[in-house]
């Protein structure tokens, strides 16, 4: 087992290189660089080409963008080994500081979102599996797929206009994660202030996630329900509830473990659209802005962190398989 883990960890190194090299070259291929952005900022038509060339040249030199790509990548990697993500091109602040600011906000949103999605969709899936092809099965599937197909920017705009805007109901705040000055409130009012702010963004982040997980839980349960041990359980006189929960539900959870792998990176990656619309300064907005500004150090730092987390979580879910299912063994052959 340990040998297997060590082997997998070593294999991660070339994969990580592959991911970062690809990202590095792809973002360099995108038209425009921080130097051209300086020109754009001056406004087209007001900058002459000579000025533009001068701005571009001076800025490129300052950031080392005039060097060959492999040199730039090498320098980046060298700094990364010491966990130094460098300085943002946009404001000359350390990239790690910007990530530290955005990180807790996104974690809060995503933890709540994931909990709500699981708590709602797994029971829905289980219960639809108990009565397959019933109106309840079809009805819930239809509803969940309608929700799944609604674009979140549209739902966000509707919710905002009807529940948070100035024209109709004004029940919820429209932006941010707390009111300005909420920090001075007593803690219970602060918590309710934050909770009140989170309602609309969380609704937008969750409703599309139910369908997949509910259908997943349903098909797993359906598979389990016809197994011999279920019949045995009923035969020995257990109550239907005990049969379903203790024998059925538990066994249907095994495939769900594979989904855990996607959780870790999903926790960190923010939703660009929702964070943008609700003015939430999380990871999604940070990533989006750094791409627009061609802020290479920030883009690369985000990619590197996401890559490591994804790789680790894939390993983690492979290991979890072995834990929950005794039939799976690693490295003993």
């Amino acid at each position: 087992m340990l040998g297997y883990v060590a082997k997998r960890l070593l294999l991660m190194i070339p994969t990580f290189f592959g991911i970062t090299v690809l990202t590095f070259f792809i973002i360099k291929l995108a038209p425009g660089d921080p130097a051209l952005m300086r020109v754009q900022m001056q406004g087209m038509g007001k900058v002459d080409a000579q000025m533009a060339a001068q701005i571009v040249e001076e800025t490129r030199k300052l950031y080392g963008l005039d060097q060959p790509l492999y040199v730039q990548y090498g320098k980046w990697m060298k700094r990364l080994v010491t966990l130094d993500f460098g300085e943002s091109y946009a404001d000359h602040r350390p990239v790690i500081e910007k990530i530290k600011e955005a990180f807790p906000i996104t974690i809060l949103l995503n933890v709540l979102t994931i909990i709500i999605i699981y708590v709602i969709s797994i029971p829905v899936g289980i219960f639809t599996a108990l009565k397959p092809q019933s109106w309840w099965d079809y009805g819930s599937a239809l509803l969940l797929f309608i929700l799944y197909s609604l674009p979140s920017f549209w739902v966000a705009a509707l919710l905002m206009t009807y529940f948070a805007g100035g024209d109709y109901l004004n029940l919820f705040p429209i932006m941010g994660i707390s009111s300005f000055g909420a920090e001075s409130l007593p803690w219970y009012e602060y918590v309710s202030n934050v909770a009140w702010h989170l309602v609309l963004p969380i609704v937008c982040l969750t409703y599309g996630g139910f369908a997949f997980l509910a259908r997943f839980a349903r098909s797993n349960m359906l598979e389990v329900i016809h197994q011999d041990f279920m019949r045995t359980a009923r035969a020995k006189g257990l109550s239907e509830w005990a049969v379903i929960m203790r024998h059925g539900f538990r066994n249907s959870l095994v495939p769900l473990v594979s989904l855990m792998g996607s959780l870790l990176p999903a926790l960190l990656g923010g939703s660009v659209i929702i964070e943008q619309i609700f003015s939430i300064p999380g990871m999604g907005r940070l990533g989006f802005q750094s791409i627009l500004q061609r802020d290479y150090p920030t883009i690369m730092a985000l990619t590197a962190i996401e890559a490591v987390l994804t790789l680790l979580s894939i390993l983690l879910s492979d290991l979890l398989y072995a834990v929950v299912d005794p039939r799976i063994r690693y490295g003993d052959d």
Partner: protein, 530 residues
């Protein structure tokens, strides 16, 4: 079920009430599309930071709100040398930084030296000062700017230079990453009071402000960071903020008509410098002829564009100068929308459908071209569609082509385009068109459409070298008439700035360039945080 829903909604309404926080009526709350990266006027790359540091840092002169002419501020008087190349400014002795230290000639010198230092990430700002030779300190409160060549803009360049404190930035710390970029010490009417990334920037009145006469009555400004324009509009409507000056036409005309909105807000409109135009690349066979360019303008229904896209709020213009500045001759009317005259002009220029395929041609070249513009611009899309439709009626095939902005810039700098719809906003009220239209700027300048006209060249050279404002105005008018005739661009419109301001503020005036909030007062009306 219904009862429960009502109870739930009531509970939510209750929750929303208990956590309401009162707002200080003396603090103006407004929006900002994006966080200022930092508040350093020289290394700044964000368009939003300047809206904040404009109240923190100052310059030798300021533009008068009404006449737009430079007037004394930190400098009380000035002299121009007879050759027009050096400008000597006499500064006030009582100007202090917000930390109490005096502002002197050393600070002005330091600001220029910093900007000119190639290690400083200020290439864009530097490029605007390439005619500046050097700055001398005459005494502690007198400085002289010396320029390399005559340029009427030189005086404003010197006078409007942002002054930063030497005793703060000159401490040996790297300028680009200086801590003062995030905690600025300025001489202006406001100081930074708080800043949480991605949420807000707060300014507080500088109670030690040296200029007692112009000490603001407002206690502070809160900039709320809202990247999405629809969100900020909703936030304004529900009363979360007091001010917005970037409303879209449809919002300003249609969506702010409720009695509730009008009771709370007053709407304003003004026209800062700006222009939306179509540039015709004269290197292409179609647009070298003046008659074709005129015909193109007559084929573009500009009034329809303004009515449909801007709800009638933008202003049609006939030249590149700023309508409210000295370089625009208001007696020159824009070309009419007239397809008959356009057809006559095209026929006269030799663009006739010789081969009968429905497309005009000349010397075997069919009149088929592309209009490039920035993607994500609804105006560009609509202008493209309207023009395409009208041109197809008279045998010209035009294809609109949206491009990502970086790609568009590259294409335009390489002069590899037929026609482009572009716009700009901001800039000086007195226009200098030398870079745009002088034939010397075709190679290595920003005359990207390769416009070349001897008479226009001569006028633009004369304007640059004329220091007397009255004479210059005459020359500006002649140039305007000539450019209207030559039509290197189709001048489409001057975009408006559409604003709404909470009625609790008093003495609010919309000047052509915008508001001057240092003049504002306020009534103590209770408002809440939303």
């Amino acid at each position: 079920m219904k009862k429960r829903t009502i109870v739930a909604l009531l509970a939510l309404a209750f929750v929303s009430c208990i956590s309401r926080i009162e707002r200080d009526p003396g603090i103006l709350v407004r929006n900002l599309m994006d966080d200022p990266a930092h508040l350093n006027p020289y290394t700044n790359t964000s368009a939003y930071a300047s809206q904040v540091y404009a109240y923190i840092y100052e310059s030798l002169l300021v533009a008068d709100n009404t006449t737009l002419a430079p007037k004394p501020w930190i400098a009380t008087s000035w002299e121009v040398s007879p050759d027009g190349l050096s400008y000597t400014f006499h500064m006030r002795h009582d100007v202090t930084w917000s930390d109490g230290k005096p502002l002197t000639a050393d600070d002005v010198l330091f600001s220029v030296e910093t900007m000119m230092n190639p290690k400083v990430d200020a290439a864009a700002q530097r490029s605007g000062y390439k005619d500046l030779d050097h700055v001398e300190k005459i005494d502690d409160y007198t400085v002289r700017f010396v320029f390399k060549r005559l340029n009427f803009r030189a005086f404003e360049m010197a006078g409007y230079l942002t002054i930063i404190p030497k005793h703060v930035f000159g401490d040996g710390h790297d300028f680009n990453t200086h801590p003062a970029n995030f905690s600025p010490i300025g001489s202006g009417p406001f100081v930074l009071a708080g800043w949480e990334r991605g949420r807000y920037v707060n300014l507080r009145r500088n109670d030690q402000y040296w200029n007692h006469e112009h000490l603001p009555r407002l206690k502070g400004i809160q900039y709320v960071i809202i990247p999405d324009s629809n969100t900020s509009f909703q936030y304004l409507k529900k009363g979360g903020m007091d001010y917005s000056d970037n409303l879209r036409s449809v919002q300003w005309v249609r969506q702010t008509e409720s009695a509730k909105f009008k009771e709370r807000f007053k709407k304003y409109k003004f026209f800062p410098p700006g222009l939306a135009y179509i540039g015709w690349n004269e290197k292409k066979p179609f647009f070298a002829d003046r008659r074709v360019r005129q015909a193109m303008t007559m084929m573009l229904d500009r009034q329809k564009i303004v009515d449909k896209l801007q709800y009638g709020q933008a202003m049609l213009v006939s030249g590149p100068g700023y309508y409210f500045g000295v370089s625009y001759d208001r007696s020159i009317q824009p070309w009419p929308y007239d397809s008959k005259r356009a057809v006559q002009l095209l026929d006269a220029a030799g663009w006739i459908d010789h081969d009968g395929d429905g497309i005009r041609d000349k010397d075997g070249v069919p009149f088929r071209f592309e209009l490039v513009y920035g993607s994500g611009s609804p105006t560009g899309d609509r202008v493209g569609t309207i023009l395409r439709e009208d041109l197809s009626q008279i045998g010209i095939d035009m294809t609109p082509r949206p491009l990502e902005f970086s790609a568009l810039i590259k294409m335009i700098l390489a002069k590899d385009f037929d026609a482009t719809f572009l716009g700009w906003s901001g800039g000086f009220p007195e226009s200098d068109h030398y870079q745009l239209f002088h034939s010397s700027q075709i190679d290595g300048g920003s005359n990207n459409i390769s416009f070349s006209n001897k008479e226009a060249d001569r006028l633009m050279e004369q304007i640059r070298a004329t220091i007397d404002p009255n004479k210059r105005k005459e020359l500006h008018y002649m140039l305007h008439a000539l450019l209207h005739e030559e039509e290197p661009y189709t001048f489409v419109y001057l975009p408006p700035a559409l604003a709404a301001v909470d009625r609790r503020f008093t003495d609010v005036t919309a000047y052509p360039m915008g508001f001057d909030i240092t003049e504002w007062g306020f009534k103590p009306v209770l408002r809440y945080m939303e």
